[in-house]
C-alpha cells in the first residue's frame, strides 16, 4: 500500500517535471524562431490552410508541436525533419517501422493507436493533432477541443495508393509549413527510384514480375496479406519498373487480400517477396516441410525473397525508400 503511494508520488513528480520540460521547450522554440525569423526566407510563417477529411483547417502559423496518432503520419512528420511531441505506441513503432524514420527519446508515448490517452495529449499542449479516421473518428471532437486536429481516411475510395500517400504527405507538409522540404523529399525519392531502376537493369532484372506479401501465423496456419495494385507498396515498386502479378477479382479496400497458402498457386510462376516477423517466420519454419509450399514453382526454383521485418507496408516516403532499397538488395543479390 505504502509502496503504491510512493509510486504514485514519484509518478506525480515525474509528470510535473515533464510538464515543465514541455513548457521550457515551447519557449525556446518560439524564441529561436524570433531570432532566425528573417534568415530562411522560404519558410512560411503566416497562416496556413490544409484540406483534410473534415474540410479545411486554417492555422495562424505552421504547427510546431505535433501529436500523431497513427504511424503513417508519424513517419510523414519525421520525413519532414520534425519530431512529433507525442506518438501512439512508441514501442511497436520501433518494431514495425523502418529505423530510417526513427523517433527521438523525447517523443512522448500517448498510449495505443486505438485509444490514445486524451489527457496525455492535452498535457503536451500540441498545436496540431494528426488523427486517423479508422481509429480516431469517435474522438475527433475531443481531439479538436484540445488542439486543431486534421484527420485522414487513407482507405477511403480506392485505398491507400501511392498518390494518396503523396497527397497526405504534402498536406501534412503544408500544415507544418514545410512544403519545400516535402518537394525536396519527393524529388529525392524519384531520383532514388531512377537509380534503383538502373541497378535492376544492370542485374538483368528489369520488368521484374513479383507478388508481395506480409505473412503471419494464425494458429499454426499461414495467413498471407497479398498486396494489390491499389496499395502504396505496389505503387512504389511500380515506380522502379516492377510488375505485380497478384490480381484479385475484386477491389480490396485496404490494398491487400488475405489468403491462405492454397491461393499461391495462382502466382507460382512469379517471384515471391515476403515480409515476416523474426518470432513468426512463417515460411522458414511452419512451411518448411509442407508439400504444397515446396511444390510451388517459385519455391522449387528458388525465387523467394525475404525482406526485413521492419518494412512498414502502410507508410510514407521513408518507408517507400526503405522498401525499394530492401527489394533491390534481395533480388540483385
Amino acid at each position: 500500500m505504502k509502496k503504491g503511494l510512493k509510486g504514485l508520488l514519484i509518478m506525480f513528480a515525474f509528470v510535473l517535471v515533464l510538464a515543465g520540460c514541455g513548457k521550457a521547450n515551447t519557449t525556446t522554440d518560439t524564441s529561436k524562431e524570433v531570432d532566425s525569423g528573417s534568415a530562411p526566407a522560404e519558410e512560411t510563417a503566416g497562416p496556413v490552410t490544409v484540406k483534410h477529411k473534415r474540410g479545411e483547417l486554417t492555422l495562424d502559423k505552421p504547427a510546431e508541436r505535433v501529436v500523431t496518432l497513427e504511424w503513417t503520419y508519424t513517419e510523414d512528420v519525421v520525413a519532414l525533419g520534425v519530431q512529433p511531441v507525442g506518438n501512439a505506441d512508441n514501442a511497436n513503432y520501433k518494431v514495425y517501422v523502418s529505423s530510417e524514420a526513427g523517433l527521438d527519446d523525447s517523443v512522448t508515448d500517448i498510449g495505443t493507436r486505438g485509444e490514445p490517452n486524451l489527457e496525455a495529449i492535452a498535457a503536451l499542449k500540441p498545436d496540431l493533432i494528426i488523427a486517423n479516421a479508422d481509429n480516431n473518428n469517435a474522438v475527433y471532437d475531443q481531439l479538436n477541443a484540445i488542439a486543431p486536429t486534421i484527420e485522414y481516411d487513407p482507405y477511403d475510395g480506392d485505398g491507400y495508393n501511392y498518390d494518396k500517400m503523396t497527397e497526405i504527405f504534402n498536406n501534412i507538409a503544408t500544415a507544418l509549413g514545410k512544403e519545400d522540404k516535402a518537394k525536396q523529399v519527393l524529388d529525392e525519392l524519384d531520383q532514388h527510384y531512377a537509380e534503383a531502376k538502373e541497378k535492376l537493369a544492370a542485374a538483368g532484372k528489369e520488368n521484374f514480375h513479383f507478388a508481395l506479401t506480409q505473412a503471419f501465423t494464425y494458429q499454426n496456419a499461414a495467413s498471407l496479406r497479398m498486396f494489390t495494385d491499389n496499395s502504396v507498396v505496389i505503387g512504389t515498386l511500380n515506380k522502379i519498373g516492377m510488375v505485380n502479378d497478384w490480381q484479385p477479382e475484386k477491389v480490396e479496400g485496404y490494398g491487400f487480400s488475405t489468403v491462405g497458402i492454397e491461393s499461391l498457386s495462382d502466382v507460382q510462376d512469379s517471384n515471391f517477396i515476403y515480409i515476416t516477423q523474426p518470432d513468426d517466420d512463417v515460411f522458414g519454419t511452419a512451411m518448411k516441410d509442407n508439400s504444397v509450399w515446396n511444390g510451388l514453382n517459385f519455391v522449387k526454383e528458388k525465387r523467394t525473397y525475404q525482406l526485413d521485418s521492419t518494412t512498414w507496408t502502410f507508410g510514407g516516403p521513408i518507408s517507400s525508400k526503405a522498401l525499394v532499397d530492401g527489394v533491390v538488395e534481395v533480388i540483385t543479390k
Partner: protein
C-alpha cells in the same frame, strides 16, 4: 427426456437410420469439404488424388491442406459430441456440454495464458494446460450451479457465467499482449484451418483412445441414468462413474480446444439428434453421437469455407453457433415442459434471508461513498495532468480548460450513470426472471446491443458517431423482442427466457465474432468497446444516460410494488390478482431499456447487473425500492472505480473498464455463489 425406455438395445430401424443417415451425411460432407477451398479443384481431381496420389500441386493440396482440415473436423466434432453426451448423462442435465459448462472457455484461457507466460512449455504440452483449465472451469460451474441438486437451467447459467468470466480474462490478455496473442485471434472463435498433419497426429490417438475407453465403460454410464434411489443403493460406484465420466469428457474437450480452439454447440446438438431416434444405451449412443458430431462440424466448416471471401476466413466456431443456437431455441420451445415452473422457485432467496442493517444509515453511507468517490475520481483520476494545472483551468477559458471539464468530468459521470443503470436493470431483470443469476447479458440484450453497435463500427465506419448508441439500442430491442415473443407462449417463464437469452447471446456473439474477424485490419478499438470502455466519453453520453435514467427510474419506482409480487411463484402471484405475464413483461422491458442505454454509452460491461444487486440483497432485505436505490449507488461506485483505476494504473495505456469490473467482481461473485449454495444447506 428422462422417461425410462427399454434399456435392452434393439437394432430397430430408427437406430439403423440414425447410423446410416449420419454416415452418409458424413461421407457426402467429406467430399464437399475436400472440393471447397481457395484454389479451384474439381471433384474429378479430388477423386484422382484420393485413389492414386501423385506429386502434383493439386494432389498435395488435397492431401496436405484440405485432408488434415477435414479430418480434424471429424475428430473434433466426434470428440466434442461424445464429451457432451457423457456430460449430459453424468449431470442428468440435457443442457450440459463442454461449452455450456465452461470447459472450453477454461481450456482456452489457460492456453492463451500459457502462450504468453511459458511459450516453450506450452508448445510441448498444450494439452496439459488445457486439461487443467477445463477441469477447474467444470468444477467451478458445477459447484456454482449447486452441484447435484442443480437444475438444468441453473447449471447452464453458472456455466455461462464461468465462460463469461474466463472470456473477459482472455479478452484482457488479448488487449494487453496484443502482439503476442495476435495469431490466436481467429483460433479464439474456433477454426479448423490446418497447415499439415501435425494437429491430427497429435489429437487422434487421444480422441480415439478415450472414446474407446468411454465405449468400454458404457454400462457405467447406463447406470448413471437410473433414478436416484436405485443409483444411490449402488453407492460408491455411482460416484466413481461420475468422476470418471467427467474426467473423460474434460480430456476430450481439452484435446480439441488445444488444437482448434473453443467450438460450442456440437456437444449440445449431436447427442440430442441421436437421442431423438430413441437410442438409449450408451454402447449404441456414443458411436452414433460421434458420427453426427463429426458430420455437424464438417458441415459447419464447409459453410464457413463457402462464405469465405478473399478478405478473411469465417471462423468455424461462429458458423457452428449460428447452426446450433436455433436448435437450442427449438429445444426450449418444444421439449421444455418438464422444466416449467419447477427448479427455480426458491432461487430468489439467495443471499442472506433477513436484513441485518437498517436501511437509513446504509442509504446515507452509500450516498457519501458514491459522492466522495466521484469527487476523488475527477480530481485525482488521470495522472497525466497535475491537479495544480487543472484547478485553475476551471476559471479560465483557454489552454487546459478542456481537460477537466471536457475529459474527466464527463467520463466520470457517464461511468456513474451507466453503473447505476446496469445495477437497476439487474435488480429488475432478476426480479422478473426470478433468478439471482440473471442480468441483461444473460437474457441476450447485451450481445444484441453489442452486435448492433459493432455493425456501425465495422460495416459503416463512415456513419456519424451518434448513430452508435441508436444502433446499440435497436440491437438490444430486437434481441429482447425475439426472446420475449418466443417465450410469450410459455407465459414468459423464467427458465424459458433465460435459455432463449443464452441462445440469442450465442447468435449475436457469433455475429460479433464474424464482424471482428472481417474488420480486424487495424481494429482493436471495436474489440475494446466490446469489453466495455469508459474511454473518451463526452457530455453527449452524459445526456444519453441521463435521459434513460430520468425516464425509466421513476417508472420502475412507481411500479415497484407490483414487481415485488413477482418473487412469489406464478400461481400465488396470480392468486393475488396480478397479471403475471404483463407485470413480468413490464419489469423486463424497463430493465432491458436501462441496460440498452448503458450499453449504448459504455459498451458491454458485464457483471455490474449481477453483482450490485447481490451485494445489496446481502445487506438489506427484499424491498424493491430500497434495493434499487442502494444497488444503483453500488453500481455507480463500481464503474467509477473501474474507470479511475483503468485510466491511472497503466497510463498512458488505458485498461478497459469492463475488464477491470470482471477482475474486481469475479472473486466476490464466486464467494457469493459459494455462500448461497452451501451455507444454506449446512
Amino acid at each position: 427426456m428422462s422417461s425410462v425406455q427399454a434399456t435392452r438395445p434393439a437394432m430397430n430401424w430408427r437406430t439403423i437410420s440414425i447410423y446410416g443417415g449420419g454416415l452418409s451425411a458424413l461421407i457426402v460432407l467429406f467430399f464437399v469439404s475436400l472440393c471447397y477451398g481457395e484454389a479451384a479443384i474439381s471433384l474429378h481431381t479430388v477423386w484422382d488424388a484420393l485413389t492414386g496420389r501423385q506429386n502434383t500441386l493439386e494432389h498435395n493440396m488435397i492431401w496436405d491442406l484440405r485432408m488434415p482440415r477435414t479430418v480434424i473436423g471429424i475428430i473434433a466434432g466426434g470428440a466434442l459430441a461424445v464429451a457432451g453426451a457423457l456430460l449430459q448423462t453424468i449431470t442428468r442435465n440435457p443442457l450440459a456440454a463442454s461449452d455450456t459448462l465452461g470447459i472450453n472457455a477454461g481450456a482456452y484461457f489457460i492456453v492463451v495464458l500459457g502462450t504468453i507466460l511459458f511459450p516453450g512449455l506450452l508448445s510441448q504440452s498444450p494439452f496439459l494446460f488445457a486439461v487443467l483449465g477445463g477441469l477447474v472451469a467444470a468444477f467451478a460451474a458445477y459447484f456454482m450451479g449447486g452441484g447435484r441438486r442443480s437444475s438444468p437451467v441453473r447449471l447452464a447459467l453458472s456455466g455461462m457465467i464461468v465462460s463469461m468470466v474466463l472470456g473477459s480474462f482472455t479478452s484482457a490478455l488479448h488487449i494487453f499482449f496484443s502482439m503476442e496473442t495476435q495469431g490466436l485471434f481467429l483460433w479464439g472463435s474456433g477454426t479448423l484451418v490446418q497447415n499439415d498433419w501435425s494437429g491430427v497426429a497429435y489429437a487422434w490417438p487421444w480422441v480415439i483412445g478415450i472414446t474407446i475407453l468411454a465405449l468400454i465403460l458404457s454400462r457405467q454410464w447406463d447406470m448413471l441414468e437410473l433414478d436416484e434411489s436405485t443409483a444411490s443403493s449402488l453407492g460408491q460406484k455411482v460416484g466413481l462413474a461420475r468422476a470418471g465420466g467427467l474426467m473423460i469428457a474434460v480430456l476430450l474437450a481439452a484435446v480439441i480446444v488445444s488444437v482448434i480452439g473453443p467450438i460450442g454447440f456440437v456437444g449440445l446438438v449431436a447427442p440430442h439428434l441421436v437421442r431423438l431416434s430413441g437410442v438409449r444405451s450408451n454402447r449404441l449412443l456414443l458411436p452414433g453421437v460421434f458420427i453426427w458430431g463429426a458430420a455437424l462440424l464438417v458441415g459447419a466448416d464447409v459453410l464457413a469455407k463457402m462464405v469465405h471471401n478473399s478478405s478473411m476466413e469465417l471462423p468455424t466456431g461462429a458458423v457452428m453457433a449460428i447452426i446450433g443456437a436455433p436448435w437450442l431455441i427449438w429445444l426450449v420451445l418444444t421439449r421444455m415442459k418438464a422444466a416449467n415452473g419447477s427448479g427455480m422457485s426458491t432461487s430468489m432467496s439467495t443471499g442472506a434471508p433477513s436484513r441485518r442493517f437498517a436501511f437509513g444509515p446504509m442509504a446515507v453511507l452509500f450516498t457519501v461513498i458514491t459522492v466522495a468517490l466521484i469527487l476523488l475520481s475527477t480530481m485525482f483520476g488521470g495522472m497525466r495532468i497535475p491537479l495544480g494545472d487543472l484547478l485553475p483551468s476551471l476559471f479560465q477559458s483557454d489552454g487546459l480548460f478542456s481537460a477537466l471539464v471536457q475529459l474527466r468530468i464527463p467520463r466520470t459521470l457517464v461511468a456513474a450513470g451507466a453503473g447505476a443503470a446496469l445495477a437497476i436493470s439487474g435488480v429488475l431483470i432478476q426480479m422478473a426472471v426470478r433468478n439471482p443469476l440473471a442480468d441483461a447479458s444473460i437474457v441476450g440484450v447485451s450481445s444484441g446491443a453489442g452486435l448492433g453497435a459493432m455493425m456501425v463500427i465495422i460495416l459503416f465506419p463512415g456513419l456519424p458517431v451518434y448513430l452508435l448508441p441508436i444502433a446499440a439500442i435497436v440491437g438490444a430491442a430486437i434481441a429482447a423482442v425475439v426472446v420475449f415473443s418466443l417465450s410469450w407462449k410459455k407465459g414468459l417463464n423464467p427458465s424459458a427466457v433465460v435459455l432463449l437469452g443464452i441462445a440469442m447471446s450465442a447468435i449475436a456473439g457469433a455475429g460479433i465474432q464474424i464482424l471482428i474477424v472481417r474488420g480486424a485490419v487495424y481494429g482493436s478499438s471495436g474489440y475494446i468497446w466490446l469489453t466495455g470502455s469508459t474511454y473518451a466519453r463526452t457530455w453527449d453520453q452524459v445526456k444519453t444516460i441521463g435521459i434513460f435514467l430520468l425516464i425509466l427510474v421513476p417508472v420502475a419506482w412507481w411500479l415497484a410494488r407490483r414487481f415485488e409480487l413477482l418473487v412469489f411463484d406464478d400461481n400465488s402471484a396470480s392468486g393475488l390478482g396480478l397479471s403475471v405475464r404483463r407485470t413480468r413483461l413490464l419489469a423486463m422491458t424497463t430493465g432491458v431499456l436501462l441496460a440498452a442505454g448503458a450499453v449504448a454509452c459504455v459498451g458491454t460491461v458485464g457483471f455490474i447487473g449481477l453483482i450490485a444487486p447481490h451485494m445489496v440483497r446481502l445487506l438489506t432485505g427484499h424491498k424493491l425500492r430500497r434495493s434499487m436505490f442502494l444497488s444503483a449507488l453500488a453500481g455507480a461506485v463500481m464503474l467509477v472505480l473501474a474507470d479511475t483505476i483503468g485510466r491511472t494504473v497503466m497510463a498512458p495505456t488505458e485498461i478497459p473498464s469492463g475488464i477491470l469490473i470482471a477482475i474486481i467482481g469475479t472473486p466476490y461473485f464466486l464467494y457469493l455463489m459459494y455462500r448461497s449454495n452451501w451455507r444454506k444447506s449446512v
